[in-house]
Symmetry: C2
Subunit: 108 residues, 2 copies
DNA sequence: CGGATAGTTCGATAGTTATCGAACTATGGA
DNA sequence: TCCATAGTTCGATAACTATCGAACTATCCG
């Protein structure tokens, strides 16, 4: 993974409305949710949500699938995994005994 | 964890120079590194690096420890763990069988 | 066809961010 | 004490971001 791609993905996540969207889609899983339901549930106006969803899709963090006149958004799970791996790459010189217990489950 | 804190931490990571700093400190582990060495290694001017280090410290992602006339920066591992947990909270309705293999190691 | 619903695009605006050089403070060594 | 080194602060500036309402496109249904 390129650092610029990671920055794009982190930028996409570093905004309250988008982080709400992301965590909502983490919660609902592969089912996903359409834009209108997200707009209602998160109380974000349609144009603003549309803007934010585009950011998340452009960052390849979400899948967008057209269903009739709705668009179903869902988490791109592999992308999230790659991002996390990139953030913790070469953690602790590969020596798990140096890691705290919190980090161990993700890096060592 | 509050969403505003997560946004602050993601904002801190969502910048190329700061992400370089972060990943460097992930790599070196608890040893940490002082600002001057980071400035040299990453080729970031001192004022600019100082600005970015402050951002990372303010976001509670780094520890800063004064050592003589240097300051040693190191990763705040627990904070990183909390952030990751927050991002993947309630992933996949707690049903690992719905998770892709990539996500499994971090969420389910 | 005509109306309603789902989303997007546009233009304007206010706020935030990254960067730089110059000047500053603080510590340590000769 | 004096000098060099380590790091921060300041002010200016250019670039980017989030938000809104209004207008738009596209799809579905009766």
């Amino acid at each position: 993974m390129e650092i610029t791609e990671a920055v794009e993905q982190l930028t996409a996540l570093a905004q309250e409305s988008r982080l709400h969207v992301f965590r909502t889609l983490v919660r609902v899983g592969q089912e996903g949710m359409c834009a209108g339901d997200l707009s209602r549930e998160l109380e974000i106006s349609k144009p603003t949500l549309s803007f934010h969803l585009k950011e998340l899709v452009n960052a390849h963090l979400l899948n967008a699938e057209k269903q009739g006149r709705s668009i179903k958004y869902s988490l791109k799970v592999e992308a999230v995994g790659s991002l996390f791996d990139f953030l913790l790459q070469d953690c602790c010189q590969g020596r798990p005994e140096l890691c705290s217990s919190v980090a161990q489950k993700t890096c060592c």
